[in-house]
Point group: D2
Chain length 327, copies 4
């Protein structure tokens, strides 16, 4: 299938994946996981909300946990380049007939909340409170030493449409998995704005659902240490897949599930992609190396389970490929 | 079951596990594996024999490969403390009615070849040629940077007898796996001479067969690099198990199979055991952490396959425990 | 002093630092250094030229070595976003009265060679031959496993002017060192296009001269291995500074000198900077942590020695600050 | 000079270096250093004493801190193989006319305190309380993750006598530094009991004084992390030397000074030495690689400063060699 053309001048300028809001059923239990075990820095908390960030992030939060009756993903957050882009985004959404509204969001400036054509709840903003630089406060490093939020991975029942829509917003494909043959469909795609392998990935599947969020880390040794820590502090069952190496993106990875089942990937070893003539890398759906250059096969849960978006029903996958999601 | 008492003054002094002789069906193919991929240093070779060592080893060889019609383990080698110990060993073997003979072995001084009561072919020696120190020739480091041969692991159909016999030779137990209950049998045992977790381990199973030999390495990152190298140079199928962490011995491990199926473990992270009051660590056979503190379960091949010893028939396991071999 | 304003829409679009052309006096000797010891991949060579790249780079070269009577830096290369940008660059250079000409450069498409207002020889291009992807050919990794060319660092006698000129081209400041007090001058600056700490840095000093080029690597352990290799293969004297940690950029670094004295930095651990509201970090020239968060002080050679640009006389520093260059 | 002959059957059996007792002037300040920063595990403390151990150590303590008016080393502790060896030690000391007495020492069984011929306060014991195994409680790992106490290094004014005395006790030389020429004196020596490079090292110098104690760690990356932590938590000035690589022992090392000036080395990468025919490695005092295979030269403090032993005057060095202490 023809790949979407890269749009160099999108209707508004998305800088990068910025933050995610997760609904969790027991905030203390979640903080024991994200803060005490994984090592994210807790920046602020109330009785029902917690704001966390990685050691490299100067902005107030990249992960927001909110007490919720059921585990959901409330919203995916993207940073825009300027306030002007925020207004352009509103105009674009209006033109497309997509639901959107400006909202007051703590620690963020003007924030535009919206729903994409597939039901995914998004929010765009251009300014967030900045806090003390942690990068060189090494005494605070712990757990897997999460550096920065890197990307989202989404189960999509309308994969080609999703790719086309985000391509229109300037997201650019770096790698993709495709069925073989003349009419082979794209089965998964990795798309970026910020110049590495992805800000956003899509996989054919029942959705829309969040497959995982991912924090970038600096060394595989931090992942091995996290495995040791999780295995000896009661979180063995929360280690879902890895460590191993994906062919796609070259990531050395570990996938963990939080106490509500939300999935986080920790990974290192991807590469730069900002050259405008950087060609997407095609993987045949029949090439097992795309998923697992080496390492054990992923468990069934990893292919099937994901986090529903708030108030968004899940649709069946459009087609069943002999396919496996990846990175 | 009562553990064998530690014998502080054995009939002769075994210093440590020293070397192993493997029969391989295609020497060039094996060297492509052990030398070019794993990174062992080739010290000498003829048309039918190759002698390899790790970067820390000053002695001429710790792995000898010999062309053979079928894959076998020809012999396990142990270093004795002195020539006097060699004569004491001969006297001991005579007294026990065990087959033995002095033999000329290249690069080794006087060498005593023998068969233990279970059919395992051994050789004892006290002096081997020493070669150029490699430890600080860092330009020669490659592959997984194997540092030194550390131990053997043996499938034994007469586990308790094997433990008792080697205890008599001064091998001391550091960890063991046992069935629960008053009459619980020992299912696997780790025994040392040199002051770390083991020189020799036994597991209940059809044997005698060599489960694996193991080289010690300095960092888990070398294992991750080896995984990357093997996966991208045609050896993906030779990666049998790991990386992961054993509960037993605390080893961070990877098991690989050579082109003939011989198994090598690379591992780091064990600990010192030379204190005479260092108590053996008991693991219940029902505790899954003993085998896999974290990591994927071992495949069936890992429990069942091993290398036969030359001219030694394999006997069935004495009992079938609900058991799993480890480290 | 006021910092230059960030120009979001520069006259032409520089994507990133791309390659450097060094004149070396003995090409074989240089390849023994860059290829066999440091581990860069040799893509092509003739009797007088060699083209090298890092494991992540798909383009044909990031380092070009050319036989030369004396050691010089012939040219710094930048990739532009499109052919259109190349023509815009020519128009800009014409308008500014800066010397420039299109040239045939092997493996590159249309290439515009120019001299900046300070005498630095540059070249701009938008398309380079692409070669086999090395990233997952792990069997070829060696030395320090250089991943990608990251930045240049330049001694500048007209520091403020240099900063202002490159700001005009859209280079954006991320960190800078400044004298204290109301009239404190900027003493060093780090500027980026690609979204990390820098593509280009300037330090007050006699120039223009190249202080160093830098390759990004994935792990400090690769630097430690390189130290071991260099110290044991006759390159001990070529290790000029490090390993250590810069406060500026957070880099874990090592500086090495090639047989002609050209300086390369290997570093890891910097951070993302693509947010348009990412504020530059100011370091007082009196804060020793900016240069060396920890590690031994830099030797005098590191402050004074650099590579001259071809046919470009060196001017004295405009002022002598009580200053020390950094990363 | 002739090296002392290895004594295989010493008058009593020293298993290994076991613990050290340091007098510190402010116990809370010292614990902020050893426990909170370096990451030793605090097993017990009173108002005036603290007992610490590494993650691998099952015995109650390897470092004892006691409140003291001035910084001193109160005692070096060695573990003996059995109670019988303790009595043999007493007999040996009596025969040699060396001061000794049995003493009650908390957490240790019968303990024999003694002074060696040079004034060094020692204690021998065979049994210490054992505590919960920490090795697989990875959630408690912190700082540099000290694994186990490895050795002591002593400034000695009577170097050859000291070597000869400890050789008599079965300590065996693995490496030594010597003046060149027929009458070249030994300038430093590394001696072991437990099968690695050393339990005890001596350097010619004013003494007896403790140059340093050393903990073994598993990875150079832990040292780099400790450097980052110390540099950002107010301990920059306590980092005295390193990281770097010693030629002698092959150690990757870092030397730190505690708030009282006591020196600790963290190191990895040494090797096994239990073979009875393992030959000592000679380094010429003129070979700079023995001290520093690579890395910055040691500062003057490192050659001159050390910890006095309690109630023991310091004698001048017997001779001034053009020498430098090492590892």
């Amino acid at each position: 299938m023809p790949l979407p053309k890269h749009v160099f001048n999108p209707p508004f300028n998305v800088v990068r994946t910025s933050h995610v809001v997760l609904g969790v059923t027991d905030l203390d239990r979640s903080l024991a996981f994200y803060q005490a075990t994984l090592g994210l820095h807790l920046e602020d908390r109330t009785a029902t909300e917690a704001y966390l960030r990685g050691v490299e992030e100067r902005q107030h939060h990249s992960l927001v946990l909110k007490t919720s009756a059921t585990p959901v993903c409330e919203r995916l957050g993207y940073k825009l380049a300027s306030e002007d882009d925020l207004d352009k985004a509103a105009a674009f959404l209006t033109a497309k007939g997509l639901r959107h509204a400006f909202a007051d969001v703590p620690y963020q400036g003007r924030t535009l909340q919206a729903t994409d054509p597939f039901g995914t709840p998004l929010e765009f903003y251009f300014k967030m409170d900045q806090r003390e630089r942690l990068l060189q406060l090494y005494g605070h490093y712990k757990g897997v030493q999460p550096q920065r939020l890197d990307h989202f991975n989404i189960f999509s029942p309308e994969l080609q449409d999703a790719i086309d829509f985000y391509a229109l917003l300037g997201f650019r494909m770096t790698e993709y998995t495709e069925e073989d043959g003349r009419d082979g469909r794209i089965v998964a795609a990795w798309m970026h704005r910020k110049g590495n392998v992805h800000d956003l990935a899509f996989t054919n599947g029942a959705g829309p659902r969040l497959h995982h969020l991912a924090y970038w880390i600096t060394s595989p040794l931090h992942i091995i240490h996290l495995c040791d820590v999780m295995a000896s502090t009661g979180y063995l069952a929360n280690m879902e897949r890895g460590p191993g190496r994906h062919g796609i993106s070259n990531a050395f990875f570990l996938y963990v599930r939080d106490p509500d089942g939300h999935r986080t990937e920790f990974y290192s070893s991807d590469y730069q992609t900002m050259d405008p003539d950087h060609e997407p890398l095609r993987w045949s759906v029949r090439d097992p190396r795309r998923q697992t250059l080496w390492g054990q096969p992923a468990p069934r849960s990893w292919f099937e389970e994901g986090t529903a978006f708030a108030n968004q029903p899940v649709r069946d996958a459009l087609f069943k490929a002999d396919v496996i999601i990846a990175a």
